[in-house]
Each structure stands twice: as C-alpha cells, then as structure tokens.
Amino acid sequence: MIPASGNEDERLKALDAVMAGHHYSGHALIEVLHAAQKEWGYLTSGLMRHIARKLRLPPSRVLGVATFYHLFRFTSPAPHEAVVCMGTACYVQGAANLLDSARRACARNGWAVTTGRCVGSCGLAPVAVCDGAAMSRATPAALSAEMERKYDAANPGPRARG
C-alpha cells in the first residue's frame, strides 16, 4: 500500500512523530500532509489512508483536503524540475516565451517543466527555478543551457537522448 523503500520504517516513524506532535488532531491535517510529502516526495492513496486512520478522519476528508491545494502532488516527481515563475512581473518581462522554449528543450532531457506562482524575486524577472536553484533575468537560451548542464552533471557518460 505504501511505496516500498529501504528506509520505509524511518519515514513512517518521522511522520508519526509529526502526528504525535500535533496530538493526532484532525486540525493538523495540512501540516501532516506537508510532512508526508517531504518524506515520500508525493502522496499515495495508501499514505493518505494511513493518515486518515491515525488522525481518525474519513479518507474522503483527507483526499478532499489534499486535492484542494496546489502544492500536494500525487505522482512521483520527475528527476529534474524547472519551474517558470508566472508572477505578473515575470509575465510582463516575457515568462511566456521562456516557458515555450523550456517546454521544447525538456522534450530531450529528463526534465519536467511547470509553471509556478510568484517566487518573490520580481525585481529580477523573469525568474526560473531549476532543481531548486533560482535563475534571475532568465533568457530562453540561458535556461536551456542550464537544463542541459544540470542534466549532463547528473548523467555522466555517453548521452542517451530520444
């Protein structure tokens, strides 16, 4: 039910500690979901059932809350993720072009390209975040180059590209 992994027990223990810290209160559901996603990377239905049982909530409530919020994900994250900020400042400075070119570039590497809400660096727009590292005043060329560089760094040896 819960995704198999070497240190599954430790993850469950960490999650249980968070729930215990909130006295297994249903009010802490969002905090608990955050903690679960931090441990596993995403939320599976098994995991949500586990949380529902522990917090004594109906599973429908847990699913309903989890799917309401944008930050919770239900599939495993791609190995690399580029987030193009779609805040107004970034949009005015050409984020749409950036997104188009990043989407074309990602077809090659193992990148997932998504859009994000304002990252708070509006003074440096447009901004893209590659694997957590923010790139300010990003251009389509610079973003593609960064994606290639990060891909190559993570995948040494001959390139396998489709």
Binding site: V65, A89, G120, S121, C122, G123, L124
Partner: protein, 541 residues
C-alpha cells in the same frame, strides 16, 4: 525576560557592535539570494578570515535593502554605504571600503521613508539580539507592563492605522470589536498568505525582520485579550517559514512570547501554520478553514471573524505589514504616526515595484505619494525606447492606472476612484511592449485556476470570461465579445460569494475603461498593437 534584562541586553549588543571596526551586512532575502548573495557572503567571510580580521570585522545577514534589481546588495554599517551588484571577487575591495558605493542621496532612496523596513539593511533577522539592539520589544514591554488593553487600542485607533492587506479597514476598530467580545478564548491571526502574483512585500518583511511581526502580534494579543496567535504563511516561501520558526523559538526562549511574558501573568503563544498553495486562502474565512485543517473555502459573512472566527471564537486577523507597523506606533505614539503620510490614511506603504521599470525592488513611501514619484523618481522610469503605458496595482483583484492618471496619490481613497485599489502593494509597470488584453487574460487565467469552486458565478464565470479573452488574443474575437465580457463581469461582481469572484472581473473592467481601443484592434483589425499576441494565421514568432 524582565525589563532590566531587556535594557541590559540592548546596551550590551549596541556596545558590542560599536566596538567592531565594521559590520558588513549581506542581504539574505529571496531576491538577492537568487542573484548570488550566498556566495558573496561566503567570500566575505573567507576574506575576513584570510586577513585575520575576525573580531574586528563582522559579516552578518540582513533584510531587504530595496533595490533587488541591482542585487546582491551589501551594506557597511560603519561607513553607512550600500554596495550593489557585488560579486564574490569584490570581497577585498568591499572590506577595505574601496568598492564603488551608492550614496545616501541615491534617487532610489531619496523619496522613501522606511518605518516597517527600518531594520532591513541594519539588523540580522536571525539574531534576536540585533532586533533588541535596534530597540525591539521595547513597545511590547510598554504594552504589557505600563498600558491597559484599552490604552493600547486607543493608541492604535488614534494613529489612524489602516489594514495593509488591501481593503484598508481601520485596524483600531477591528481590534476594538474583538476586545469587546466576551469570550474566554480568542485568537490573533497574522495573514501572511501573500498570493498576488508580483507581490513580495510581506515575504520580505518576514524574511528580513520577523521579530517585528511577532512583537506586533503579541501586543495585539494583549490588547484584545487573546492567548494564542497563528501565523498563516505561504508554503511557497520556505525561507520566510524558516526565519519565522527561528524567531518564534528565540522569542519563546527569551520569554517574549509564550508564558509569563515580562514576568507578568500575560501568556501569548504563537504557532505557525503553513498553507499549501491556494490563493483563495488570503480571504479571511477561507484562511480560517485552512488553519482548522480543511479545504480553504470561504463561507458567507456575517458573522465576521471578530465575532466568530477560528473554531467559532472571536478572531483578530491582520496582515503582516499591519502587525509590523504596531511596535513603532506603540513606542512613538499615535500622534507621531498620524503625521506621516496622508491625513485619511497615515503611515507608510511598501510597494513591490517591478515590471518595465529601470530600478526594481521594494519601496516604502509615505501613503499618498504620487504614482509618478514612485515610478519616475524612485524607479527611474521605463526602459529607454519604450513609453509608459500603465501601472497595475492590487494584483488580480485590482486594476490599471493609465498614463493620464500618473499623478494619482497612492492611498486607500484615491485609487478606488479611478477604478483600481491599493491591494497589498504589488505595483507592476507596463510599457508599450505590454498588451493590455493579454494582461487581462493573464489575470483571468489566474482567477480561473484559483477559484475554489464553491459558488457557480466564480467557478463558471471565470472560465467563460477567460475563454472570451483568449479568443480575442488569438485574433478570433467577435464584435459582441466586449458586451459579453461586461455582462459576465456584472454577474460575477454581484453574485459571487467571496472577494475572489467579486474582484476577478476588475482587471477586465479597468483595461476596457482605459484601453478599449486595444480590444477593438484585436477584434476588428485582428491586430495586437503591442505585437504581443500571436494572431490566428500569423506565422510563429
């Protein structure tokens, strides 16, 4: 913490800092961090080590110094100079004072008045001693040991402080409403769910001076009779969350929040709640539902939160910037505050100046400063070769200000008169390269995605309005589309259940009011005047 210990701590830290040869403060807020402030700080630390200056020159972090577009920014406190665009290789020159610096009369800083951002650039947000050395927690001491709750509320009411979240409701009235409720349990909530795309004021305050917000909340707790506070922060701002956690821990250790504050019987605990990405949670009843662990869906008001909020108890909800104003008002008095800014809305307002403007960043000006001053004098105008077209305030709920209204004073009454609103402080400048129909479409897309789905006008209306706008920007608009948009706008404004749906049509109404010819050009001539929209049949750019 006792009054004597607070005074001693302040003097000891001030003394320690004055004995340093220099204290070099590196911006450690989102903007500068993404332009490489972390590496600059490390190189400065290494350089201090290399020159054997440890103990004489201290490298510390600090909050936003404003000019994010020219980051990373570094400030030398002894020389009182700000260095911009510092690279790691500049470390020796910065330490020697040989690096070119901005002078105090730099046009970006000249028109500003920094009250809420007073410590940003001067104190380290991760050290409570820095905040105390700057006079921090003095106002709390006064509020807890020398003032009655009524006196605190009276100061806030007489100061004329208005809520900085957008609507500008008088803070003193709200506090009084909560204080008047007879309930053993009350809550104070800090709304830090700053979700407008293109707004980073609250985040910068939390990242750069978290103790100021905590102090304001504890004072509010004392004034309204609450013992528990919550800060509802955005899940998308991990740095703000981290700084808040650090600050809450420090304040608790020093007994500045938690139990027996200043050795009195007053207890006030502050907990952090992390949102998970839902714009609607900035609406106060949705925020309450989210803190309670549910879907962030609004409920009808009344009853308003001051009567029935979190778990049905009276709840005071204010924005980050509102709470951040409180310590200075309590410390300096209502009269001092009411003389700053505009008579009907005193104080300062922080704007996140961004978009097509030369100097971008965080700007704090007296309320009522004209838009022209902010954009041209402080921001340096639009880039050369382009022409100012409009400024957008209030995010997806606001509207645009055209060039003909550049002289408008930025306050809570003048902006609604021209069809926009103060909002939380996002200020996006647009020039001749921006298509206003496309901007209206952009905001409608945002509202469509963020609609919580509870009421039909908002859930379905935003989809309809978005599809019409998209059709127009594709060059497939119909001559009747403008009338359809206005009809839908009217429907959303009058029948939606909460502010999100009511305000969602604002950008459309506002761009239609000032830039109707751009809509007509798209529809009739199949041409985008700004050459932004790719018209149907046109080759890809």
């Amino acid at each position: 913490m006792t009054p004597q210990i607070l005074a001693r701590a302040r003097e000891a830290e001030q003394d320690r800092q004055s004995r340093l040869r220099d204290r070099i403060l590196c911006c450690t807020v989102a903007g500068c961090l993404s332009s490489g402030a972390g590496a600059v700080r490390r190189s400065l630390e290494q350089e201090v080590e290399r020159q054997g200056l440890g103990g004489a020159v201290e490298i510390a972090g600090t909050g936003c110094m404003g000019l994010c577009g020219d980051g990373p920014l570094i400030r030398s406190s002894k020389r009182d100079l700000i260095y911009s665009k510092v690279a790691p290789g500049h470390a020796p020159a910065v330490i020697a004072g040989a690096h070119p610096a901005m002078t105090a009369d730099h046009p970006f800083y000249k028109g500003q008045r920094r009250l809420v951002l007073a410590n940003s650039g001067r104190a380290d947000p991760e050290r409570i001693r820095d905040y105390i050395a700057a006079g921090g927690y003095e106002a709390l001491l006064q509020a807890v040991t020398r003032m009655t709750p009524d006196e605190i509320i009276s100061v806030i009411r007489r100061s004329g402080l208005r809520g900085r979240g957008g609507a500008g409701y008088p803070a003193g009235l709200k506090w009084e409403l909560v204080a008047r409720q007879k309930s053993p349990v009350k809550y104070v909530v800090c709304n830090a769910d700053e979700g407008d795309p293109g707004a980073f004021m609250n985040r910068s305050v939390l990242e750069g001076d978290p103790h100021r917000v905590l102090e304001g909340m504890v004072i509010a707790g004392r004034a309204v009779g609450a013992q528990q506070g919550f800060i509802y922060a955005r899940g998308e701002s991990p740095l703000a969350i981290e700084r808040l956690q650090t600050a809450i821990g420090q304040a608790r250790n020093e007994r500045l929040c938690g139990e027996r504050i200043f050795d009195t019987s007053f207890n006030f605990r502050i907990d952090l709640r992390i949102g998970a990405g839902a714009y609607v949670c900035g609406e106060e009843t949705a925020l309450i539902a989210s803190i309670e662990g549910g879907r962030g869906q609004p409920r009808p008001r009344p009853p308003y939160p001051p009567e029935s909020g979190l778990w049905g108890a009276p709840t005071l909800i204010n924005n980050v910037e509102t709470f951040a104003n409180v310590p200075a008002i309590v410390a300096n008095g209502a009269e001092w505050f009411s003389k700053i800014g505009a008579p009907a809305s005193p104080g300062t307002k922080i704007f996140a100046l961004a978009g097509r403007v030369a100097r971008t960043g965080l700007v704090e000006v007296p309320v009522g400063t004209s838009l022209q001053t902010i954009i041209e004098d402080i921001g340096g105008g639009v880039p050369e070769g382009y022409e100012f077209k409009a400024a957008q305030t209030g995010g997806p709920a606001g509207g645009c200000i055209p060039a003909s209204a550049l002289g408008v004073p930025m306050d809570y009454d003048s902006l609604p008169a021209i069809g926009t609103m103060m909002g939380s402080g996002g200020l996006i400048v647009m020039d001749s390269s921006t298509c206003m129909v496309d901007i209206a479409r952009f905001f409608m897309e945002f509202c469509m995605e963020e609609s919580c789905g509870k009421c039909v006008p908002c859930r379905a209306g935003t989809v309809q309005m978005h599809s019409i706008l998209e059709r127009i920007t594709r060059g497939e608009g119909d001559p009747r589309d403008i009338a359809r948009l206005m009809e839908l706008a009217d429907l959303l404004q009058n029948t939606s259940a909460c502010g999100l749906g009511i305000a969602a049509p604002n950008p459309v109404i506002s761009t239609l009011r000032y830039f109707r010819e751009e809509y007509e050009s798209h529809i009739h001539a199949r041409r985008c005047p700004a050459a932004r929209c790719r018209m149907h049949g046109e080759a890809a750019a």
